[in-house]
Amino acid sequence: MGRLRLAARMLVRDWRAGELQLLAVALTVAVTSVTSVAFFGDRVNQALTRDAHQLLGADLLITSDHPLDPRFSGEARKQGLASASSTRFISMARRNEASQLAGVKAVSEGYPLRGRLRIAPALNVADAEADRVPGEGGVWVDERLALALGVGVGDAIELGASRLTVSAILTLEPDRGVTFFNLAPRLIMNVADLPRTGLIQVGSRVTYALLLAGERQAIDTYARWARASLGRGERVQGLDSARPEIRAGLDRAKQFLGLTALLAVVLAGVAIGLATRRYTERHLDNYAVMRCLGAGQRQLFALFAWEFVALGAIAAVLGCALGYGTQHLLSGGLSQFIAAQLPLPSWVPAAQGVLLAFVMLLGFALPPLTRLGRVPALRVLRRDAEGGGDWPLLSYGAGIAALSGLVLWQADDVKLGAHALAGFAGAGLAFAVVAYVALRLAARAGRFGGVAWRYGFANLRRRARSSTVQILALALGLTAILLLTVTRGDLLAAWRAKTPPDAPNRFILNIQPEQRAPLAQFFRDRGLPPVPILPMVRGRLAAINAVEVSAASYEEQRTKRLVEREFNLSYLDVLPAHNRITGGSWFSARDRERGALSIEDGIARTLGVKLGDQLTWVVGGQTFTAPVTSIRRLDWDSMQVNFFVIATPPLLERHPTSYITSFHLAGRHAQVMNQLAQAFPNMTVVDTSAILRQALAVMERVVEAVQVVFLFTLAAGLLVLYAALLATEDERVREAAIMRALGASRGQVASAQRAEFIAIGLLAGVLAAAGATGIGALIADRVLHLDYTPNAWIGLWGLGLGAACIAVNAMASVRAALSRPPIAALRAAE
């Protein structure tokens, strides 16, 4: 007990003496950075788990892109399960001149089996749980749809070819689900009214679902049976697989944020190492004195260990509290895309934060501290009694091990973690090598300057190691700033500019063969330019070079899903505009005779398909095989209709075909959409400009979240800079004193130090500009797929920021060096 009390007192005393602040701040920044992301991720996870039942609206869900075989409901009856069905698609709802794209769900009696819909008898009045589904001839619309169409309860709306009456306002639809793009206004109708709408046609994008609920055991039995009986395009969704695409998307976002957060941790670790080193240096004598006073090795070690544990605990608690506050910033923007109400986070992230604090102390603070344990008491009599220096391998090894563990833990994926580690290490090493070499060159160049410059640059070389650390830290911090300002703006601008202003902003799907001529006429009548109407046939990839293809053939989840689904195939004689052949050649007359395929290069890579491969397709129950004779690159940003796979016409012509087109609709032609919906009720018009706007909004939110996390990186970078400066401060003060004693003027001393700082600031600025440009180019290439022209000004920005950051530090340091008369500084340094 007495020992703990003494440790607490030592903590207070060291804190008062200013020995621990830097360490505490660095620890707090690291914990805050990681816990803010962890708290956010935890809330999202909880929301997904909590809402899983409601998200499904059932205990088990069978979904399909075609009407489900009756044996699925038959088996459910046999197992004594309750069942209901839903049919989901997107369509235009109209009233008079107004029209609005809506997410339609046609449901059977009993829907939903889990959770409840809530409805209100009018707009802006209290809602209540609905105890049944809309009756025949009635629909429930949500507030957005009601406002867009200007309808209230009792008004009629048109949906496809049918007229339905709004019988309630839909206020809550729990299984609407977690999706970034599920943004269309909602409409729920009775499944009995569906045939009359005439909306379900060949090629329509419809999701059929069978909802099931019952005893746990019966559900499990059914699920096993269903998984074994699944046909093409059919899936079983249980609670564990609810919304896998959202879970995967959020997991990726969490990983990315987590790794960004770790950048701050890495820097904080360096700051902790530097701060502890300084602490150790300053306590070597004290330690020896205490040994003289009779303190045992173990007693002293325990004393310092407890002191650091207490410090770690305080920093961890503070960091967790700050992290909890910061996660509101992260989830505030993103939660609107996830769920109405995020649950409160659990204590797990806090525990992780505490763990992190101690791992960092163990990895970065303990190694320098062990030096204290080896100081002989004799040091009080003879200063040269050192008791062995650092154990560099231990210091660096423990830190690197701790960091590697953290990165792998945060990435939650060995491969990704290893990549991130390699990325961190590679970037750090590259920066360090460049900085080190540049320092030596600068020192050489400095020989030609005046005394002050010569001396300052010589210092750079002498302190090459600590100078490199300073440059590295500052460069990483500045890279974060530049990325968030200059690079981010450039990328967004380039991304927006990529899509021309007259690019198509509407897609029309579900055009039936006999509607092609009337549709062309419709455009002509309104003085609109003609649009290309392209055929589309749905087919499934069955084999590559006679080897059967299934989800099990691929590792990646995305590829698995891609293979399970039907592709949209087209057949054309002419290569569409915006397509570029990168391998092979476009269909020749001979190809046309024999049958051939052209495939998009991205999907070819994903599926592992090469030029000349024989692909086997199943279309409408029939099979055909044809060779790949060309590989195309598409300009997706043109917003034109694009196809992954195009066949020679004779291969597909005889199969059920629907058509698709895209066009640009100027704002002044808005009423065209209503007329179109009235003239062709079965067609689906997709407003891609709205989707683009939404995508942009989501991207902005993610950028905001990343920005918040990058702020920690910056803070940690500044801490390292400060720690590195402090580490050399004692030395600088003594050197300044010696120079003064030798007759140097204050100005000369100041400019020598200034030369040193200017070089550090400028080097860091250049490196940061290079780093931000490199990362920007990587994002442009890998994520946004656009050509990125680096900003010519970024170098100047980097230099300016580097100089500004270092100037503040330099002024402080120079003032410290010159604040005391030389003799005092020399004595203190004895």
Binding site: L6, R16, L293, G294, G296, Q297, Q299, A377
Partner: protein
């Protein structure tokens, strides 16, 4: 002998500090043994010697060796705290009052003069009631007047507390005040006369 004062004198490099280090168990001998209060020091391990120092030994150094982050009071409390004594603060206050620094309790070492710092060091050495006090050139960093005052105080305290004083010095005046002088040259005792 309790209350006895032994001066170790000799020129620079004659081995005074080495002898002191050995006597206090801070350094290891290549041959021979040291008995402190009847215990063979080098039959103990480092921690054992530290425990023995805690019970029996006080130190005063030429460069004071006060802990910079600690106030005068805390510096004096430290050895008591290391011994896990509950009355550390009261004892330390009394001791500082005895050395004339009752009004300097909250001062940090760097705010104290050299003489004051050495008084704090004396207080720290005597507060644990040591059986043996090792003093290594206690006046080496002080001017003559201050040094004399410190030596007076050292002898006073030694007489009061009945400790055995081992004083390393090259000040003959100081050495002569001791009951015994041991003169070293080239690492050997050249006279050990009473």
């Amino acid at each position: 002998m309790p209350g006895e004062a032994v001066a170790v004198v000799g020129a620079s490099g004659s081995g005074k500090s080495t002898l002191l280090g050995l006597l206090a168990g801070l350094d290891l001998p290549t041959a021979g043994s040291v008995h402190l209060a009847g215990v063979d020091l080098f039959s103990l391990d480092e921690d054992g010697r530290a425990a023995l120092r805690k019970r029996l030994v006080g130190f005063v150094f030429q460069s004071f060796q006060l802990l910079a982050p600690l106030t005068a009071l805390e510096n004096v409390m430290l050895p008591l705290e290391l011994a896990e004594r509950d009355d550390a603060e009261a004892q330390a206050r009394a001791m500082l009052a005895r050395v004339g620094l009752g009004d300097r309790l909250r001062h940090y070492p760097k705010l104290l003069s050299g003489g004051e710092q050495q008084r704090v060091a004396l207080a720290r050495a005597f507060v644990v009631e040591p059986k043996v006090l090792f003093a290594d050139e206690p006046t080496g960093n002080l001017d003559a007047d201050t040094g004399a005052a410190i030596i007076d105080l050292l002898f006073e305290l030694n007489a009061e507390r009945g400790a055995t004083l081992v004083l390393v010095t090259h000040d003959e005046m100081v050495a002569r005040r001791c009951t015994r002088q041991i003169r070293l040259a080239g690492g050997r005792i050249v006279n050990g006369a009473r």
